[in-house]
Symmetry: C2
Subunit: 412 residues, 2 copies
């Protein structure tokens, strides 16, 4: 008998009919004799409706502690509704079930409202349910603060609840049911040759997620890696398919050099020319941007040692470009740089693979491939298992297709 | 400095705009220096939407403990949302506020899910808020069971929460804000001459409510009477008007004989002819009807002592007539009565007033008035402060108008 955590996302529980379908998936695992805990998101659309309500009370105080506290009370109700409905659906088809809200277990969180972190899930009530052969249905995305207030957890949301729950229960598997049937070598909308991956490592999945693949949030995969949770991404709509397993690499030497190609569109690039190269300058720039909630991605710096000057290039989401330029302008008198250049309508395209560590020449192969397509590379940034390039947005499709081909991602 | 409980019903908080209006009413009382606790219903329509979701999982098990438990989890979320939004609205206009859910105070209930009773509201957290000059916003209609599950309370709902809260806080006043500006001598839809009552006694209000007036649920008024809570019914849409105060009669001798005229349409009448008159017969009939959840109202029995037979007449809602006739038929072999007659499309019209106790001839005056209108009385039933008659439904309007005139309810 295994212990399984099954998580259903918003599109998988978007209506009472879909909740009934999802309940059948749960029943099948239950009938196999497993201990089952379910985590549910809010019905698709619900969270946005609730946020719209809350935003009607938006003002200068909107980031106050009071605002964020009540935001959590309102928005967490979405998952509460689904947890009750899923439990009803299970009982209806003969699977004994009970719902649990964050405060009931409890799911202990710290950190600020709207962006809390799960510290601990007390599994006692769920373990009691296992003894009675009862399924527990947890409202995802929510927890309890040290002041006994409802919190919602930040990025990763219900996926993070599922991963932490699997860890608390020492579950054998954490199945993330969503509207796609696994993790693909690239976005099926970009290239027809995509192949579903049977396996992917945590690190690869983290890179894929942070480079634009939307199956799982980066922070959930990071949690899974830290907690050593065996995650499967599976489709609610074809539950008999195996999906993609996310876990540690069994044999790094057998790993493919490149596992997938990811992209994110709507990037903008800012270059500060002839910045005085002295300690603390970079810190000042990026702290000022961060204070305005601007999320800087790639950062490249070229020093001209003889001139004691430097050029600094970084990317931001296109929607933050104007705000970013304002921030930089406000620093001009203090920083004494020459000028600021910017460019928008760019895309970031990345190749990702654990095997990259042991296979030299992967980056070179990528650059040659893009060059052969006549695609100009604006910025390059690399990590151990990833190479990212910034290119013209209109060339995204060509780049993704060409890279998918050259690394033979459609081959077994 | 007084302590006030302000309760806003579903139509008073039906949109974020209306919540903002209601918040201004709260602010006005707060700025007068009072301690304020607010109770909110779900936004109008929300509860029905949630019940529709739940009913999609309706089956033979629908009255099971599991069903009712999860029903409460889902349906209570409506008031949760409003409590958060009202608190946001108050903070936005400079009134420090915090929401409280049933489990947080807690509001301790017993009795079954979906129909729990409030036993106790622990006021400590609210009293702490008073000390900090902070308004507490309670989600109405919900509480906590001894198993630490969410419950919803039965009839009376959020009004009952408000009354119990006022009692727990020893509040000076419990203002029930709704979409009418008080209790009227009759239904304004029935007669143009209605007058708003400045005062009404608990007992009169209970009779008004149970005879069809929809301003407050009977059980809430009963709670208010038992807990000696000073209730005011006021309009959210004309908050400067005084409304109607519900309390004990100051001087019963000064009370008007008739305070109001109430009615309920869609009644049906069943008469069982020549029932053997022996102990336990009535009990058997009404237990059988009650087992089918049929709510019997007026009951009249005429005994024919010499024949040892009796005719039994009672009324039920028109929608329950066929079910009721089935129940009675199933008892025929056992009961050995002669026949069953029934009639539908009837109305019950009632006159209500505490002063009736001290003024003879009120019933006679009512019957004369109806007779003068050519209205036939089918059944009569009376209590200390009420006389009800069953009449043809099409005559309801005439009866209400004539009674309103004859008892001069439009006069001061």
């Amino acid at each position: 008998m295994s212990t399984l955590v099954l998580k259903f996302g918003g599109t998988s529980v978007a209506s009472t009919e879909l909740i009934k379908s999802a309940a059948k998936i749960v029943k099948k695992e239950y009938d196999n004799g497993h201990n089952i805990a379910v985590v549910v998101s809010a019905m698709a659309g619900t969270t946005n409706n609730l946020i719209n309500y809350v935003n009607d009370f938006h003002s200068s105080k909107s980031d106050s502690e009071e605002f964020n506290t009540e935001y959590d009370v309102v928005v967490s109700s979405g998952e509460q509704v689904t947890s009750g409905l899923m439990s009803l659906a299970l009982n209806e088809i003969g699977v004994p079930a009970i719902s649990w809200l964050g405060w009931q277990l409890p799911i202990i969180t710290n950190g600020p409202h709207r962006n809390a972190n799960i510290r601990k899930i007390i599994p006692d009530k769920i373990n009691e349910c296992f003894k009675e052969r009862k399924v527990s249905v947890l409202a995802g995305f929510q927890g309890l603060s040290s002041e006994s207030r409802i919190t919602t957890i930040g990025r990763g949301g219900s996926d993070n609840t599922a991963v932490f729950l699997a860890s608390s229960l020492k579950a054998d598997r954490c199945d993330i049911y969503t509207d796609v049937d696994g993790v693909y070598t690239s976005d099926p909308k970009m290239t027809g040759k995509v192949k579903k991956l049977d396996k992917i490592s945590y690190e690869e999945m983290i890179e894929m997620a942070s480079q634009g693949a939307k199956v799982l949030q980066t922070s959930s995969v990071e949690s899974a890696m830290i907690e050593n949770v065996n995650v499967q991404v599976r489709s609610t709509f074809s539950p008999d398919q195996e999906g993609t397993q996310i876990s540690f690499d069994v044999d790094e030497n057998q790993a493919k050099a490149v596992t997938g190609v990811a992209y994110s569109k709507d990037e903008a690039k800012i270059t500060i020319i002839d910045l005085v190269d002295q300690p603390g300058i970079a810190a000042k720039i990026f702290r000022s941007l961060s204070n305005q909630s601007i999320n800087v991605d790639m950062i490249v710096q070229n020093n001209f040692i003889e001139r004691k000057k430097t050029n600094m290039t970084f990317t931001v989401p296109m929607s933050d470009l104007n705000k970013s330029l304002d921030v930089i302008s406000s620093l001009k008198s203090e920083m004494n740089f020459l000028q600021v250049l910017s460019e928008d309508n760019l895309s970031k395209v990345s190749i990702i693979g654990s095997g990259m560590r042991n296979q030299p020449g992967i980056a070179a192969k990528m650059f040659e491939c893009l060059s052969a397509q006549g695609i100009n590379i604006e910025v390059i940034s690399t990590s151990e298992i990833k190479v990212s390039v910034l290119i013209e947005k209109s060339k995204t499709n060509d780049a993704v297709n060409a890279l998918h081909d050259v690394f033979e991602l459609d081959k077994p």
